[in-house]
Structures are given as C-alpha cells and as structure tokens.
C-alpha cells in the first residue's frame, strides 16, 4: 500500500509503531502533489517548508510523548483556503485577497496545530465559498479525480479532489449550503456538516454567518470522527459556538442499527433527478434496512421553499460579510479620485461574477421596499423548514436522502445558468437552514462516478450519524473504491 493511500487510522498505527516517520509520510505527499496535482489542480498553495517543519516537530514530539500522542500527530492534512492560517497566504479563491496573509489562525487551525498535524497547503474553492462546482474560483477550476473533465463539486472542491486523489490524508472544508457534503459525494468521500455551533467559526472567512460550518472530508467515517473530535468544541471567540462537551466521536462508531428508525423524505427525490442516482441511494437505504433499521416514508412539506429561502438568506448575509473587502485594511486596492471610486473599482476588479451576483441579490433583498417581500418571507420559510425537521424527528431517528440529484457534471456544463446551478442544492440546503448536522457517505457508482448518500440527524446528534454511517460503510465497501490512476499519461 502506498503511503499516500493511508487513512488517518492506518497512518497513526504505522507512525506509532515507528514503521514510518511523519517526515517520510509528508514527503510522500509532497512528491505526489508535485507529480499529479498539475492534472487535478486541487491546491492553490502548497507549503512544503511548513509541512516538513511540522513533520519534524511531530517526529520529535512522538519520541517524548509516546503513547499519549494525539491521533492527528504527524498526519498531513489540507485546509480549504477559506480558513485563516497565520503567516500563510489565504485567498478564499478570490483575487481581492490574493496577497492576504492572516495575522491569526482560525480556531480549528490552531487546534490542529496543537494536535501536531501537518499542513500540506491550502486548497482551491469557489470564490468566497459561493458555488457548487469550484468553477467560480478566481484562479482555476479543480478537476474531479474520477474524471478530469468533470467538476469535483463545490465549494470545497479542492479539498475533495485532494483527498480523493491521495494528495493528503484528509482535509477540512466549509459548508454553508452543502459545500462539504456535495464535493464529498462527487469525489467518493465522507463529508460532515456539523450541527451549527458545534465547530467554531472564528477565522473561517464568513459567507453566510447563520449557515456556515467547518467540516472534515475524509476517506472513512472513522477518519471523519477523529477530525471532527479534534476541531469541535466551545470557543469563546465565536459567540454562536455551543457550550457543550464534545463526545469522543471515534469511540462511538460501533453498534448495530436494530431499532433505528430511518425516514426517507420524498421531497428529496426530485423530479428530473438522474435515475441511476435515485436507484443507488435507494439500494443504500435497503442495505441500512438489512442491518436492522426500520425504514419509513417521511415528508418535509416546506422543502420546496429551501432554495428560495437559502438564495435570499445567504446572499443577504454575504452582502454584509463581504462589505469589509474595501481595499483599506488588506487585499487588492485600486485607488481612485476619492474613497467612493476606490471602493467601486476595488470591488469591481477584485470580485468575480458569482460573488457580485450574490452581493447584488443580497443587497436587493435587504433594501428598502424589498425587505418584507424577500428577506422576511425567507426567514419564515426557515422557521417552517426547521419545524418540518422537528416533527420528522419525533417519528424517526435519522433521515436518509440523496446528496445531489446527479453525479458530477462536466466542467462548463452549468456555467451559463446560475439558477440551474442553485436548484441542484435542494438536498443539502435544508440542513444548513435548520442548523442540523448531516453526513455524506459514498454509496455506489453511476457511469463510473461516485454517488453520495446523505444522513441527517437531530441537533447535536453527530454520534448517531457517525454510527449509522460507519455501519453502512462496513457493509457497502464503497469507501475502498479509488479513482483511476492519475500518474499515467492522460489526453
């Protein structure tokens, strides 16, 4: 087995047994990134000196810490470029932050540093996390390792592609409307959007502050549990952070599914959905039933408002969050005859098309005369979507749905139709709107491309999600599938 194919659990065993060193493991990834990432384009910035310094420190620490080492000590990870990393350029996939070097770490980054993880670099993303394909990156699109002419999903497409192409052991992404779960599913990975407030957003460059969460993207459910445990927890620097202890997720994976009540909401099997995707997800649900769970039909009648609600709320919040990009304190600065021209030119030049579109949409929805028509109604929809889930969770323990209506689409295929792109997010948006947790796990292939199954749970019920996902993974075997070899010549 190649070093770059190891999971966190496998790497930890080899590191603990002194069979490999963190430096060797890190070098293996740096070499593979060098050989292969020109085809995948998952990284915006590779940080070899930082990575090797961290790896050396991890090896020294293991010699003194021994068996008490954190499970992430010496493990090479990739970080979505939306996370502030002190002293390391952070662009959010935008030209307006092309030169920005944060003077502080995001809380999750600080926690991973403390745990002794190794940072291989910052991954590509849709600009300011706005997108579902990573095509909105101001730098270049990332390609899906399963088919290089297809998108990896977004907005955490760089992280997804990096994990799927063995260019890191695991990665962090962020999820505002599906941006961890969708690329996880397009790339055949496990991805978690935690309960809102479970993971600190301090240092996560804000897009939709009432929706954003940071989540792991990994090869296995066990790996996701380890990474989630490391980053979760109360943070006084994030006033929306939940002050409740973090369960030992990695110890809570086993257990059968007897008595588990699974609901399947019909509204998520949308019209126009790719037939193979629906069938593959339903086959996955049957496998869960075979494991002892009971499966029933659920209904979440206000799902039909989710796209409209999200594409009002998120852009509205973004219009406020992105007001800070003014070329005064950091980033691109275009100047002008006065400050007003300076703002207009800086933001016109620095922001890409999708970002402008969403800022405009959000500004419009919040402006005088339109606030009641759009924003207020969207917030009502939010209440209704949330109570749909509360009602469903009286009857069921988890809800299982597809992650996306299709498998990965071709690069450029949806470029001219923003609305079509937005409508695809129907399966993932509601969890962000309601603040409940969700996990995506691979459940099969259609035309050689991965299909993801999404499991949604009650507020703070990550343990049940992990247990169900882990049980599914053991029988489905889909996490063992790899994309075709990338190193050989491809046209």
């Amino acid at each position: 087995m190649k070093l770059t194919e190891l999971t966190i659990a496998e790497a930890r065993r080899l590191l603990a047994g002194r069979e490999i060193s963190a430096v060797e493991l890190t070098r293996a990834f740096l070499e593979r990134i060098e050989a292969v990432d020109s085809k995948v384009k998952s990284y915006l910035l590779v940080t070899p000196e930082l990575a090797l310094a961290q790896a050396e420190a991890a090896d020294r620490r293991r010699r003194s810490d021994g068996h008490s080492s954190s499970p992430l000590l010496g493990i090479p990870l990739a970080l979505k470029d939306v996370l502030c990393t002190r002293g390391t350029r952070t662009t959010c996939g935008s030209r307006i932050l092309e030169s920005f070097v944060p003077p502080f770490d995001a809380t999750v980054v600080a926690r991973l540093r403390e745990a002794g993880a190794v940072f291989l670099g910052k991954t590509n993303m849709d600009e300011f996390a706005m997108g579902s394909s990573t095509e909105n990156s101001a730098y270049f699109p990332t390609r899906n390792p399963w088919d290089l002419d297809r998108v990896p999903g977004g907005s955490s497409g760089g992280s997804g592609a990096a994990v799927a192409a063995d260019l890191c052991v695991a990665a962090l992404g962020s999820d505002t409307g599906g941006s961890v779960r969708l690329p996880a599913s397009f790339c055949g990975l496990v991805g978690i959007k935690p309960t809102y407030g479970r993971v600190s957003r301090f240092g996560l460059v804000a897009y939709g502050s009432s929706l954003d969460q940071i989540g792991p993207m990994t090869k296995t459910v066990a790996d996701a549990a380890v990474l989630l445990e490391a980053i979760a927890g109360y943070d006084p620097l994030d006033s929306t952070s939940i002050d409740q202890p973090v369960p030992q997720y990695r110890e809570l994976l086993s257990g059968d599914l007897k008595g588990l009540r699974i609901g399947v909401p019909k509204e998520y099997f949308v019209e126009g959905m790719q037939a193979g995707v629906a069938a593959t997800v339903r086959a996955g649900i049957d496998q869960l039933a075979d494991l002892g769970a009971s499966v029933g039909d659920a209904t979440l009648p206000h799902t039909k408002y989710a796209v409209a609600a999200y594409y009002i709320i998120a852009p509205a919040e973004a219009s406020a969050n992105l007001a800070r990009y003014d070329g005064v304190k950091y980033g691109l600065s275009c100047g002008g005859v006065d400050i007003w021209e300076h703002f207009a030119r800086t933001r016109q030049t620095g922001f890409g098309e999708e970002v402008k579109r969403r800022i405009m949409l959000g500004t419009y929805a919040l402006s005088a005369g339109y606030y009641d028509a759009y924003y207020l109604q969207a917030e009502k929809a939010r209440t209704l979507i949330r109570s749909d889930f509360e009602r469903a969770f009286e009857q069921f323990d988890v809800l299982v749905t597809p992650t996306y209506p299709t498998v990965a689409f071709g690069l450029g295929e949806k470029a001219d139709d923003p609305l079509a792109m937005y409508l695809g997010d129907i399966c993932t948006l509601p969890a962000n709107i309601a603040g409940i947790p969700g996990i995506a796990v691979p459940c099969g292939l259609v035309d050689g491309l991965p299909v993801g199954l999404q499991i949604l749970g009650r507020w703070l019920d990550e343990p049940t999600l992990l247990r169900v996902a882990h049980a599914f993974e053991q029988v489905s075997g889909w996490n063992a599938r790899r994309p075709p070899e990338l190193v050989s010549e491809r046209k």
Partner: protein
C-alpha cells in the same frame, strides 16, 4: 422577469460595486430569473409564523468587559495597501472647500 437597469445600478451603488453596462444588462436578466424563482416565497405572506433569523437558540451572548491583549499595530498594518504613522491611508473621503481638489490624498 427582468430587473430594470436603474434598479441594478442602484443596488450596485448600495453595494459599492463598480459595474459596466454589459454587466448591468447581464445581471438585469440573471437576477430577474433568480428573483422570479423566489416568488414561491410569496405564498408565505399569508402565513402567520415568526421568522427565524438564525439556526442557533443562543441569544445575546455576552462576555466580561475585560481588556485582553490584541494584535500589535505592526501586524495589523502588515497587509495594508497603504499606511502611514500607524494609520491606514485612504483616498479622500470628504473634500474641503469649494475650490476643487484641495488636500486630496489619493492612493494612486
């Protein structure tokens, strides 16, 4: 449905976004199409329900009013496009006097 060009320009002004005439045209159509989809929310106008502004149940989280160490000024200004004497330098905000460009400190 299309947004009127004047509306698009007005929104761009509110958002401090410079915008070209071809962008006005393009956004006028695209935003119009997206907003048309939002019309489904109109069904909720008659629904009597409290809006939810957040996914969290937390309210007005406070902390003790204690001074804590902050970033040193040098780090704060490290990314500044223009700075002087510990301040961020910006183009003129308000003109002084009616005689034209007096005291202008543009950032070119």
């Amino acid at each position: 449905m299309k947004l009127a060009p004047t509306e698009v320009e007005h929104v761009a002004l509110l958002a401090r976004l410079g915008i070209t005439s071809s962008e006005v045209e393009r956004f006028s159509e695209q935003l119009g199409a997206v907003l048309q989809h939002m019309d489904t929310l109109g069904e909720l106008r008659q629904v009597e329900i409290l809006p939810t502004s957040s996914a969290t149940t937390l309210k007005t989280v406070m902390r003790r009013d204690e001074a804590r160490p902050s970033l040193p000024i040098s780090e704060v200004l490290a990314n500044a496009p223009q700075s002087e004497d510990g301040y961020f330098r910006v183009p003129v905000v308000l003109e002084h006097g009616a005689e034209g460009a007096t005291g202008s400190e543009d950032a070119s």
